[in-house]
Structures are given as structure tokens and as C-alpha cells.
Amino acid sequence: MSISHAPPGSPESDISGIRKTNAGPAGPPAADTAGHVPVALEPIVPSSARRTRVPRWLRRTTGPLLLLALWQLLSATGVLTSDVLASPGRIARVAGDLVADGSLPAAMGTSVQRVAAGLLFGAVAGTGLALLSGLFRIGEDLVDAPVQMLRTVPFVGLIPLFIIWFGIGEAPKVAIITLGVSFPLYLNVYAGIRGVDSQLIEAGESLGLSKWGLVRHVVLPGALPGAMTGLRYSLGIAWLALVFAEQINADAGIGFLMVQARDFLRTDVIVVCLIVYAFLGLLADFIVRSFERVLLQWRPTFTGR
């Protein structure tokens, strides 16, 4: 869209009226008798007029669709061969087959269960520890230093140890997700608690709130934005941990499907699994956003234009 206010064909049209009153035949606008130089005015266009007519959801889906079309084009012209990357059409067919024979829904069920369990345990551990060290000075002294130390260990590096400890069943997979999820939640909930405005705490005290009342009505609601940020980080890490966990010694789940496909050089199945991961991640993010919309509607923050 063009934002110029004067049509390019007639550069003088917007000040021609002023020209005439000045009776200046040519050149820059002459100063009038009082010595005022005429000011060129430009309209402030109301934002409703500047908005495009295309609805937002359509604009947002255009980008991915264009990408998909490009991909299909490259596959059809043979630039992308099927053993490097299968074409979108073929992937759609394979996805249909995998759904029809029940292997994909079963794998998704297993994976979602693992993430849910890991997320639950991780959330309990992360928030619990954060509450301990956020609310109590003694908790901070005991908990914070070890957690900060453990946090720097890449959790993926613990997989061999976890296999020795928990065997090769569900336990090591859930454990690795739990570990990955705990730290971002811990850090953000802890920072959220410590970031609560001390003026509000004082106001709460002056209103006669008890210690527990202060925690319930002031500290915890104040820490909620931080907790939500932590939850979103955690979800991202949960899917990441799932991919690592499922590619080792798995006999079910999306990761297992991918390992199997790799052995048979089925790039189409691998891409289907990647897409499933992406959609599950998006779905999880959508759920958290919905939570935020309900729980954080009191926040006086910028929401974008």
C-alpha cells in the first residue's frame, strides 16, 4: 500500500491553493506581508482507513501456504528428490495411511502421555522448590544454590545415567522431561515471587493481612505472570526432551516411529512425525495462551496494534 498523500503525478497539487493566495508565479512559496512562510499541510489518515481489508487470520496463513506451494513446486520439478525430502502431496497421503492403520494416533497418545506426566512432575517440583526459596529466606539458602548448580548441567547428558537408574521403560523418559521442565519453572516462579512490588506488600500489611493472607492475595497473584512465562518455556523444553528421550530405546511413540522410518529411509514418515511434533507444540502453546488470557486479564500491558 502506498502511504504518500500526494499523487506522484502532480507534486504541487497539495500546495497549489496556497500558491494562488500568495500570487507567487514560480519558485518556492513567497513569504506574505507579515513574514509568515506558508506551511505545507498533510492529512493525518485515520487508522481505520489505513487498515487493509484482508482479515488477520488470512494474512497469517498466507506465509505458510506460500512456503508449501514452493515446496510442492520444487518436488514436482525434480529439484527436491523424494529420498531427500518427499513432496507435500506424498506426505499428506502417508499421513492419511498412518492415521488409517492406527499407528500414528497410538504413537501420539503415548507421546502426549509422556509429556503430560513429565510436565506434571516437573511443575510440582519446579514450583514447589520456587515457593520454598521464594517465600522463605532459609529455603533460599538451602535450595537455590544446588538448583542453580544443577541447572547448568545439560539435562540431555543425564540420559545414560537415567537408563542405568530407571531401566528402559517409561520411567527414564518421563524423568528426563521432568528434569527439563523443572528448571525454567523454578527460575521464573522464583523471580516472579521476588519481583512482587514491595509497596503492595506494605499495603497488604496495612490492611491487616496475615502472613498466609499476604502470600495468597499479594505474593502468588503477583508471581503469576512469571509462572506463566516459565510454563511456556517449560512446554518448549518438554517437547525437546521428548524427542531425545524417545529416540533411545523406545518401542512406542512418535520418536519410535521416526527411528523406524530412518532405518527404512522413509523421509515422508519422518516429515509427518516432525509436523505432528510442531502441531502438538502449537496446541500446547495455544492452551497456555488461553490460560494467560483468563488469568492475566488484569495486566495493564501493551497488547499490540
Partner: protein, 254 residues
């Protein structure tokens, strides 16, 4: 009512509670790093009295208010205040995550009904915003909500810490009037900390000037209400107080 129920703020209460006072402070000292901001201060406020506390910034007037509110307990000396007291701060300090009526009820014992909050909001003319989020309130509305939150506690002592400081001039006049009306209706003792001499003279029965950690000067304000800034006695009092506050009023007196 319960003005004789005194809760000591001091670490140890010495002497018997005096029923005749709403506030009784004796030889109160508060030091920050060895420097006494409040130095053996004494202060009595009668039940139902409206007292304004003036002073240059940093003279310790806000510290005194925080001590009376029970928010600062690193003190020496005797401080007796009613158990039922309430504070309104310069910033409204509403919990942004609670709707206005929940803010008003916050900290009340038991499970009070919304009607209790609505009644207090009605009194400050804000009942129509009862279900609103604090972020949607204007500055004056938020300050009135904070006032309702203080009043709903039915305080025997109301502590106001420059509650009109952040309001624009027009809203401030309205808010001052509101506080005057509420005080006359409720009959509670009020301690208003302010740096605005006119505000103090418009509202208070007695004006105190704090300097170097003590009440350096005090004067009763014996003008009948409602008071007018244009009253010559008002101007005379104002000149006297400004002088005590170290502001040259020679040009003003002319």
C-alpha cells in the same frame, strides 16, 4: 466506640492506655544508621480530631505516619494507636489482580459480602466501578477506591499519606472536599501528612509542623467550615505556616 482499645506499636508498652486520646506518642525515636530522623517526639491526637502534619521533604513526617500505621517497628519510645486504623497512601496501591470491590474487602476478617464493599464505594461515589479492574480506573477514581478500602474498616484513626499528591488540581479539590465530608460523617480521628499548606488549613482542626525530628510548631485552625482561601485570617495563618516551613512570604503578604 472502640477508641479506647489501644494497640501498642512499640516493642514494650509503658504506662496505662489513655482513653482520652486517639493517638498517644511519647519520646518516640527512630534512627536510620545512627541518625535520628524522629528524635524524642511527642504527639497526642484527640478522638475525632483532624490533624494535618506539615514539613519539608525528608523531615520524617512520612516515617511518623508509617510508625503509627504499624509498618515500621524499629522504634524506641511509646506509641499507642487504636486497633482499628487504616492507611491511604500517596499511590492508591490497589492490587491489580483484584477487581475494585475485592480490593476494598481485602484483609477484612471473616467473609464479608460484596454489598459491604459496594456501600463503601457508594460513599466515595464509585459504586458504578465496583466490578472494574484497577487498570481501567482514572487517577482520581483509584484514589477514591483506596479511600473506600480504608473506610470500610471503620477506623478510629485514618492515616493519610499525601493522598492527593499525585492528582491533578481539579481532581484534588474534589478529593479534598470528599475527605472533609467523610470525616464529618464518620467522626474518626484523621492524621493527614501533606506538604500543601492550603490543603492543611482547609481541612484540619490543628496543624503541626515537623522539623528536625520533633513537632516544632503547632497551631489550631479556628476558622468555621466551610473555609475559604480568600478569608484574610486564612491568608494570615498560611503566611505564618509558610514562614515556619522556611518559605519567604514577603511578596505574598503585600
Amino acid at each position: 466506640m472502640a477508641t479506647d482499645v489501644h494497640g501498642p506499636v512499640s516493642p514494650q508498652a509503658t504506662g496505662a492506655p489513655r482513653a482520652a486520646h486517639a493517638v498517644h506518642v511519647e519520646s518516640l525515636t527512630r534512627s536510620f544508621d545512627g541518625r535520628a530522623v524522629i528524635d524524642r517526639l511527642r504527639l497526642d491526637v484527640q478522638p475525632g480530631e483532624f490533624v494535618a502534619l506539615l514539613g519539608r521533604s525528608g523531615c520524617g513526617k512520612s516515617t511518623l505516619l508509617r510508625i503509627l500505621a504499624g509498618l515500621d517497628r524499629d522504634i524506641e519510645g511509646t506509641v499507642l494507636v487504636p486497633r482499628r486504623k487504616a492507611v491511604a497512601f500517596q499511590a492508591p496501591r490497589l492490587m491489580p489482580w483484584k477487581k475494585v470491590w475485592r480490593n476494598v474487602l481485602l484483609g477484612l476478617p471473616g467473609k464479608p459480602e460484596r454489598a459491604v464493599a459496594d456501600q463503601a464505594l457508594e460513599e466515595v461515589g464509585l459504586s458504578h466501578r465496583s466490578g472494574a479492574w484497577p487498570k481501567t480506573l482514572s487517577g482520581g477514581e483509584a484514589q477514591r477506591a483506596s479511600l473506600a478500602r480504608a473506610l470500610v474498616r471503620e477506623p478510629d484513626l485514618l492515616l493519610l499519606d499525601e493522598p492527593f499528591g499525585a492528582l491533578d488540581a481539579l481532581t484534588r479539590i474534589k478529593a479534598q472536599r470528599l475527605v472533609g465530608e467523610l470525616w464529618q460523617r464518620r467522626g474518626c480521628a484523621v492524621l493527614l501528612v501533606t506538604h500543601d499548606v492550603e490543603e492543611a488549613l482547609l481541612l484540619a482542626d490543628r496543624v503541626l509542623v515537623m522539623d528536625e525530628g520533633v513537632i516544632a510548631y503547632e497551631t489550631p485552625v479556628e476558622l468555621e467550615r466551610p473555609r475559604a482561601v480568600t478569608d484574610p485570617r486564612f491568608a494570615e495563618l498560611r503566611g505564618r505556616l509558610l514562614e515556619r516551613l522556611g518559605v519567604d512570604t514577603a511578596a505574598d503578604a503585600a
